[in-house]
Symmetry: D2
Subunit: 361 residues, 4 copies
C-alpha cells in the first residue's frame, strides 16, 4: 500500500447542475472505522434528481427526507482498505470492499435487522448525502457498513452493487423470482437494466422489458438483457399478455417510478401474481377490484436492501458469473466528474462511473 | 323431512328499488345436485349496490362483470338438504349446509384450487346473480358448492359465512393475523364488523376500528367488537399511531372500498406491516415512497375465499365459539323481503336476514 | 376417432414378479367420466416395490395403506379422449390428457385444495391400485382427474408427469428452488433424475447429484442432468461443502428414501437452508442440535402434488421446452409388459414406458 | 447511581456440582461497552447440563461446541447501566437492559441478520460461557448486545427473556402461531412453560402440554398455563387427537429434547401442520412416509433468536401484559448461588433466579 497523502481531491454538488472539486484533508480512521482508497464510484439517478439538479439552498424535500448536506458526493463507493482504525473485527488493510451506502446507528431494531436504510436515529447518515461519499480519492467508512468484494468482481461491479444492484436484488427477492416466472420490468434505466440482469440470473423463464424510450429499448436489446423489449404504448398490456399465453406475468417489477408504469406493473401481473415497487417518488393509482383484488395479487414496497442481503448478492454474482460493470457506458477520472454528471444529465448514455487507478481503463 | 311441494315463493330484484315475489316450481336435483330447504338467506351490500338499486334493464357494469340475470336473488344461503340427486359423495338428506356462493366449472385450474370465484369458464354462475339464489323456500345447489354446517352454528351463522365472513377470513389469512398484531379495520359496515370479530378470534392483541358514521361506531362499541373505535377525521392517522406506540399497526384491513379509507389502511401500517383490501369498487391512490416502500410494506388483494378455507373457517368458528348471527339486527320472513331490502337501503340498521322456520324467531 | 372395440387387452400384477395379460370389456363412461384411448403408461418404482414384487395374497402393508386390488395396473397414464360421458365441462373427445393418478371424492377439504392424494373418504381410489389404471388399451377416468396435455408435449411426457414429475415439482416448489440456490439431489433413480431436470428448469445455479450406483451416476453425467454427480461415500458431505464454498446447499432434496440419504440431505443443507423429503418408506434419523437446529434449517414433507400444480407444471414444461420422455430408456408395447417389468426389476435400465400407436417408436 | 466499587463478588462453576464465589475486579467499559449493575440473573437448563454437572476439566463436547471457559457464569442477565464507555449510540447511564447472551463479531453475515448466535468468528463469545456472565454484581457488556427493558417489565422478566423466552418466541414465530391453531407443547420444564405462555399470547385457540413428570403437569395446571396438561403415556397421541377433532394440532413444539418427545411432536401435527424443535441435544427419529410426508408437514429447526426479535418480544410482552417472572419459583442473593444451583439440580422446583437489590424480594 502506497503512503497516504495529507490532502485529496473531492467532488461536491452545490446544485444548479454544477460540480465543484475541492482539495480537502484525508480523514483519519477512528474506532471501528477504515480509510478506503477509492477505486470506483458510480453516479446514481437519485444523485441527479435530488442533488445535482437541485435549484438552490436551502432545499425543501419534505419533513422526513434528509437531503444533501454539502458533503463529498457519491453513494455507490468501492475501493480497497488503505488504513484501519482500532477495534476492527473482520476487515484488514488491503481488503477490497464496497460500502452499504447508509450508515445507521447499528444498534436500533432496524439496524439489527441489517436494514440500516430504515434507521430513524440521529446517527443515520448516508454516504454522499449526509456524510462524505465516494467521489474523492479516499473515503472514511465504518467497518459495519463494508461488504467484502471477492476477486472475481471488479471495483466497478462493487460500486454498482452498493446501491442499484442491491436495491434491485431486494425487490426481486421479495417477490421470489425463479424459473417458474415470466418477469416484467417496467422502466429500463440503469435500475431496470439491473432488474433484467438479476431476474435472469435468479432463473426467470422470460424477461420482458418495457420503456417509453427507443434508445433505452435499443440498448437493452443490444446487450441482450431481456427476452422481449416492448415500447410502452396503448397496446403494451395486450402485448405482454400475448407473450404470456394471455395470462400476464408471474412477477412484475416497477423501476419507472411513474404513475402509468406502476399501473402497468400491477395490471400485467397474472392471477396470484406478485408485483414490487422499486422506482421512487410520485404517485400510484389503480382500480382495486379490476386491477388487483379479483386476481389475488400482492404488491410489495421495497427500499434499498440489508447489509446481509447485499453480501449474499455479492456471493451469488460470483456464482452466476455476472458483472454489473457491463452496464457502465462511461468511465471517467475524478477530475472529469463534471463531465460525467453532464453526460448523465443528457440522458442518452447508460451509466457513468468515476474511476481510479486500474479501473480507469 | 316433510314432503316437498310443487311450487314455492321466491324473491326477485327487477331493479329501481323493488322486490318481486313470484310463485315458481320447486326444482328437481340432478346428478351431483341437492335441493336445500332454505333456513336463512342474508342480504349482502353488493345485493343492494349492484342489483336492488340498479336503475333499468339492460344494465352495464363493464365488460367483465357478470351482472344479475333475473334469477331468484340471495347469495348468502344456508339450509338443510331436503332431497338428493344421484352421484353424491359426501352429503345426504338432512345434512345442514351453507352454500359457497359461486358455482364454478369445478375442473379448471382456479376451481381446482378451490377458488371457484376466479373461474373464467362459461359454467361459472353465482347463486343469486346468474343462477337461482337463497331468497326462496328451496334452492337447487351443487354438492361441490356445499360447506357442512356443524350443530353449534345456526343457519343464520352459516348464511353470514357463505359470503361476508368467508371473504373476511380470506383477507385476514392472507395477512396472517395473530397475537403479535394490532389490527386496523377501516370501514365498519357488516364486512368491517366481521373483520373485527375474526381478527380478535385470530388472536389480534388490539383491534382498532375506523368509520365516518357515528351510528356504526356506536354499534361497534356497543357490541364490543373493537378495542378502539375511532371516527375518521383529520387526526385519525395520528390517533392510530398514538394507540400503537407511535408505530402503526402490524396489519391493516380496508373494508371501506373508499379512496381515503384505502389510503389510511396503507399509511397506518407499521414498518414491515401488511395491508389487505377487502372492500370493492372505486380507486386507490397513494405516494409509494412515503406511504409504502420506505417502510417495506406489503399490500394484498383479496376476493371472496376458497371452498376449503370456508370449511376451515366453519371449523374454527366452532372452536372459537363465535356466532356471526350476532351481527344480524333484523330477521324477516320471505314474504317481507321488500321490507328487508328497504331497511338495508335506509342504512341505519345492521344486517338483515330472510329467515325460515326455526330461524325466524 | 376410430371405432371403439368391445374388449381390450389389459395388464395385471398378481405378485411374485408376474404380469398377467387379460382380455376384458372396454368400459363405458358414465356421468363426468371419459374413456381414454391409452398412448403411454410408465412404470413407477412403487409399482415394482409394492405390487410387482409382492409375495402373496393377501398382502399386509399396514392399517392405513390401501394396497393393490387386482385392477388393471399402471398409475402414470396418458392418452386421448375417445368417448365422453354426460356432464363434462372442460374436456371433449379428441383432447389429449394425462391422469392425476389418485381419484378422490372431489368434495372433501383435501380434494377441494386439489390434493386428492390426501382424501380420506371411501371414494378415494388410485388408478392402477384400487381402480383400473393405464396398462390397457383404454382407461375409464373422471374428468376431474384429467390434466390437459398441450401439443408440444408427447404422451410419454404426460405419463411421466402424472406421477414422478408432478411429485418432484411439488417438493421443489415447497422449498422454492430458484437461481439463488445450489440444489442437492440425493438418489438418482427416475425420481432423482426428474428432480435434477426440474431444479435446473426452476433456475438452480448448480445441481449436485449423489448416488451409490456407478451406473446411475454415469447415466446422469451422460444425460447432463447435474453439474456434479458424486458417489455417496464417506467423503461425500465434505465434497458437497467444497463445491459450495464450504457452506452447503441452499436446497436439498431426498429422493433416495434411505436413512443415510435422508441424513445427508439434512446435513448438507446450508444455514437457513431448506430440505424436502420425496423418497418414500423407511426411517429417518438425525441429531437435531448439530445437524438441523443450530443452522435454522427447515425440513418439508411432500407427497404427490395437487391437480392444479400438476397443471401448472405442464404449462411450465412447455415454456421451458423440457421433455420428461428423455428419461425413458425403453418403450414397449402392452403385449411385452412382462418384459418391461422384468427390465425395471433388473435395476440396470432407466425408466420403462408401455406405449401405444405413435408413441411406440 | 451509587458509586461503583473496585471489586465485586462473582460466581464460577468449576464443575462436579460446585459453585465458587470469588472476589474480582469490577471491569471498566471500553469503546462501545457498558458496565451493568446486575439486578437479576436466571439459571438456565444448559447451565446445569453442560457446566454445573460437568465432571472434570478439560471437557469434551465435540469439535464445534464452545464450552465453558472458567468465566463468571450466568447467561440470562438483566440490570441497569451503571457506567458507559465511549462511542455509545443508543443506551445511556441509568437505562434498564437485558443482554442478548451471545456476543458475536457484529459484522459477519449472521451477526448482520441479528443472529449473533450463529456467528462463526473468533469474536463470538457467549456471556457466562466464554466471557463473564451475569452471576456477579457487575457485568461488562457490549452496547450491540443490549435490549432495552421497558418499565412495565421487571428485571427478572428481562433475565428470563435473555435466553429462554427469546428462544421460545423464535420457535413459535417460525411456525407462526395464531388463533387458528391448537398448539402442542411437548416437555414442560421452564422452556416448555414459556412456550405455553407465549403460544397463548400469540393467540393459540388451545394449548396442550405434555410431560412425563406429574410434578410439572401439576405446576402447569396450577399456573393455568395450558388448556390441557397430559401425561406422556402410550395413549397420549390418541388423547391429543381426541382433543382436536381427530385431526391433531396445527402447530407443535418440542421442548423436551428427547427422542420420544420429538416423535410425538411430529406425529401429533395435523395435515399441513408445522412443528418446531426447540429442545436441544440427543437424537430424532421418525418414519417419513407415515409420520410426516403423507400429511405435508413441515419441521423447523430453531436456535436462540435474533437481537431484533428479542426486542420485538419485549415490546409485545408489554402489550400483552405478560410477566415471565411468574415462572420463577425461587429468588436468591448471589451469596446463595450454590443453593440455587443445588435446587435446580434437584429438579423439583421451577426456575431459580439470582437477584439483587429491589428484585430480591
Amino acid at each position: 500500500m502506497s503512503s497516504i497523502p495529507q490532502t485529496m481531491r473531492a467532488a461536491y454538488l452545490p446544485g444548479d447542475g454544477t460540480v465543484e472539486l475541492r482539495t480537502v484533508p484525508v480523514p483519519e480512521p477512528g474506532h471501528g472505522e477504515v480509510l478506503l482508497r477509492m477505486k470506483a464510484s458510480a453516479i446514481c439517478g437519485s444523485d441527479m434528481k435530488f442533488i445535482y439538479r437541485r435549484k438552490s439552498h436551502p432545499f425543501d424535500l419534505g419533513p422526513d427526507f434528509k437531503g444533501y448536506e454539502d458533503v463529498v458526493c457519491g453513494h455507490e463507493p468501492c475501493g480497497v482498505i488503505a488504513k484501519c482504525g482500532p477495534g476492527l473485527r473482520r476487515f484488514k488493510e488491503g481488503d477490497r470492499a464496497l460500502v452499504y451506502h447508509i450508515s445507521g446507528c447499528g444498534v436500533c431494531g432496524d439496524c439489527r435487522r441489517g436494514y440500516m436504510i430504515c434507521c430513524l436515529s440521529k446517527w443515520r447518515r448516508a454516504y454522499g448525502w449526509q456524510r462524505d461519499g465516494g467521489m474523492a480519492e479516499y473515503l472514511l467508512a465504518e467497518e459495519k457498513d463494508l461488504i467484502p468484494l471477492p476477486e472475481p468482481l471488479s471495483y466497478v461491479d462493487g460500486a454498482q452493487t452498493a446501491c442499484g444492484f442491491g436495491t434491485v436484488y431486494e425487490g426481486l427477492s421479495k417477490v421470489a423470482v425463479s424459473g417458474d416466472d415470466a418477469v416484467l420490468v417496467v422502466g429500463l434505466g440503469p435500475v431496470g437494466m439491473a432488474a433484467c440482469m438479476l431476474a435472469k440470473a435468479m432463473g426467470a423463464e422470460k424477461v420482458i422489458g418495457v420503456d417509453i424510450s427507443p434508445e433505452r429499448l435499443a440498448l437493452v436489446r443490444e446487450k441482450g438483457l431481456a427476452d422481449e423489449a416492448l415500447v410502452s404504448d396503448d397496446s403494451v398490456l395486450g402485448n405482454i399478455r400475448r407473450l404470456t399465453g394471455g395470462k400476464g406475468c408471474e412477477k412484475t417489477v416497477d423501476c419507472s417510478g411513474s404513475k402509468p408504469g406502476r399501473l402497468l406493473a400491477i395490471q400485467a401481473a397474472r392471477t396470484w401474481g406478485k408485483s414490487v415497487m422499486i422506482g421512487e417518488d410520485g404517485e400510484a393509482a389503480f382500480r382495486p377490484s379490476a386491477d388487483f383484488m379479483h386476481e389475488h395479487k400482492t404488491l410489495y414496497g421495497s427500499w434499498v436492501t440489508s447489509t446481509w442481503r447485499m453480501e449474499e448478492l455479492v456471493e451469488r454474482m460470483v456464482r452466476w458469473g455476472i458483472h454489473p460493470d457491463a452496464l457502465i457506458t462511461t468511465r471517467l477520472p475524478l477530475e472529469k466528474a463534471a463531465e460525467g454528471f453532464a453526460l448523465m444529465d443528457g440522458g442518452t448514455c447508460g451509466k457513468v462511473a468515476i474511476c481510479f487507478d486500474e479501473e480507469l481503463k
